[in-house]
């Protein structure tokens, strides 16, 4: 029963993927059925595996389950937001990457994370928090840049609009400011 978590995670992803596709095609009953199957699978699997309910479940395993579920929710939420055109693909990319990385570390803790732990001497918890933190930092940095750019765009539009509005008023015959400047003197 060593790979129970992996199997469980895989099945969950599969079933949720099916539900996602079903939702997309507006077959709500199929999606509901998929979710039901998923929940049943989880219940059954957690029933037959002693690992999840036994008192000797390690802290690390619990953490893996929590982070795995979190990243999974994150992925689903991101994809759903893109599907509903609430989020642009270019912004979704970093979120999807973040979700995938966290999911990867939850499913395979013995690969890169173990290497990170070995060279830094960190505990599992610290390592995973650092990885998550780094990615969230990246995401918020990306946001700051995008926000600044968006603010610049808005300011440029506002300036252009103010100039055009005044020009329109003048063309419509509102009193022009005096003095069309005479030929310039050399500077």
């Amino acid at each position: 029963m060593k790979y129970v978590l992996e199997i469980l995670g895989g099945l969950l992803v599969l079933v949720s993927g099916l539900s996602f596709v079903a939702l997309r095609k507006r077959r709500r009953w199929l999606a509901g059925l998929g979710l039901l199957v998923g929940v049943t699978l989880v219940l059954v699997l957690s029933g037959i595996t002693p690992d999840l309910t036994a008192a000797r479940v390690t802290m690390e395993l619990k953490l893996r389950v929590v982070t795995g579920l979190l990243s999974f929710l994150m992925l689903v939420a991101t994809l759903e937001a893109v599907r509903r055109t609430q989020m642009h693909e270019r912004y979704a990319l970093l979120w999807v990457a973040t979700g995938l990385v966290i999911l990867f570390f939850a499913l395979y803790p013995t690969t890169i994370l173990a290497w990170l732990q070995r060279i830094t001497g960190m505990q599992y918890v610290t390592a995973i928090i650092i990885v998550i933190f780094a990615f969230l930092l990246l995401v918020s940095f990306h946001f700051s840049i995008m926000l600044s750019r968006s603010r610049d765009d808005a300011a440029r539009l506002a300036r252009r609009l103010a100039l055009l509005e005044q020009r329109l008023l003048e063309l419509e015959g509102a009193p022009r400011p005096p003095a069309a400047p005479p030929p310039p003197d050399p500077l």
Partner: protein, 250 residues
């Protein structure tokens, strides 16, 4: 430059300045008949726009609040597009005396500078500030004087006269937040000449300083950071003074 009232425009950035704007506009018109005025309304919630129009000023009405920097850039772009040779910035609160404008022109004529700033502290102007404020201004003045390689006594003064070349530069790029000190540093970096003229400021007629007690520290940090970051940025050759003299509008 003798008939400057025909070639200049007064730019007044205004944010909720309904009370002080009317008397200021009347004063400018009485002193210099025929001088063009544009009020840039930075999304005020009061009757600033109506007040400005009623007193014969053109109004550039911004749909969202851009801050003094964004408002001034709008004004500079307007002056540039309409072909004015000079732009004078006055604050809407009546702190800057319009009677000081000829003094700015005189200094520009003497020094040949592209931008002239009305300074409170040059000569015996004499507006006394609180101790902390004068300390802040002193530090900023020292830093800015170093950045500009020349003495700048009043780094936060918004009373300025800008000629056509600097207008082209400012309508292309102007700092967004607390623009006065940073714009001077940018100007000297791009090869423009800056000079100061002694002007006695008046007591604010209405409204309040955009730099309150709580934001003063934030102000100082922002300005110092932007001054440092500007030093680390390369000079933009397209916006250098010699590139803009020929009339090339970026």
């Amino acid at each position: 430059m003798e008939n400057w009232t025909q070639q200049a425009i007064v730019l007044i950035p205004a944010f909720n300045e309904e009370a002080s704007l009317g008397p200021l506009l009347d004063e400018v018109t009485a002193l210099f008949p025929g001088l063009a005025i544009a009020v840039i309304n930075d999304c005020s919630g009061d009757g600033t726009v109506a007040m400005a129009r009623a007193h014969g000023a053109a109004v550039l009405d911004l749909p969202c609040n851009l801050g003094v920097g964004g408002a001034m850039q709008t004004g500079f772009a307007y002056a540039c597009a309409r072909g004015y040779r000079y732009a004078i910035r006055l604050d809407g609160d009546g702190q800057h005396p319009p009677a000081g404008i000829p003094q700015l022109f005189a200094t520009m004529r003497e020094t040949g500078a592209d931008v002239v700033i009305g300074s409170r502290f040059l000569g015996n102007g004499g507006v006394t500030s609180s101790r902390w404020r004068s300390l802040g201004i002193g530090v900023l003045s020292a830093l800015l004087s170093f950045a500009c390689r020349q003495r700048i006594t009043d780094p936060t003064s918004g009373f300025q006269l800008v000629n056509a070349i600097a207008l082209r530069f400012f309508s292309a790029t102007y700092p967004a937040n607390y623009p006065e000190p940073e714009s001077l540093a940018l100007l000297t970096r791009q090869g423009f000449g800056v000079a100061e003229a002694p002007v006695a400021f008046r007591v604010r007629q209405g409204g309040c300083s955009s730099i309150g007690k709580r934001t003063a520290f934030y102000y100082a940090l922002t300005v110092i950071m932007s001054l440092l970051v500007d030093r680390a940025r390369a000079v933009d050759p397209r916006l250098a003074r010699h590139a803009l003299v020929g009339g090339g509008v970026p």
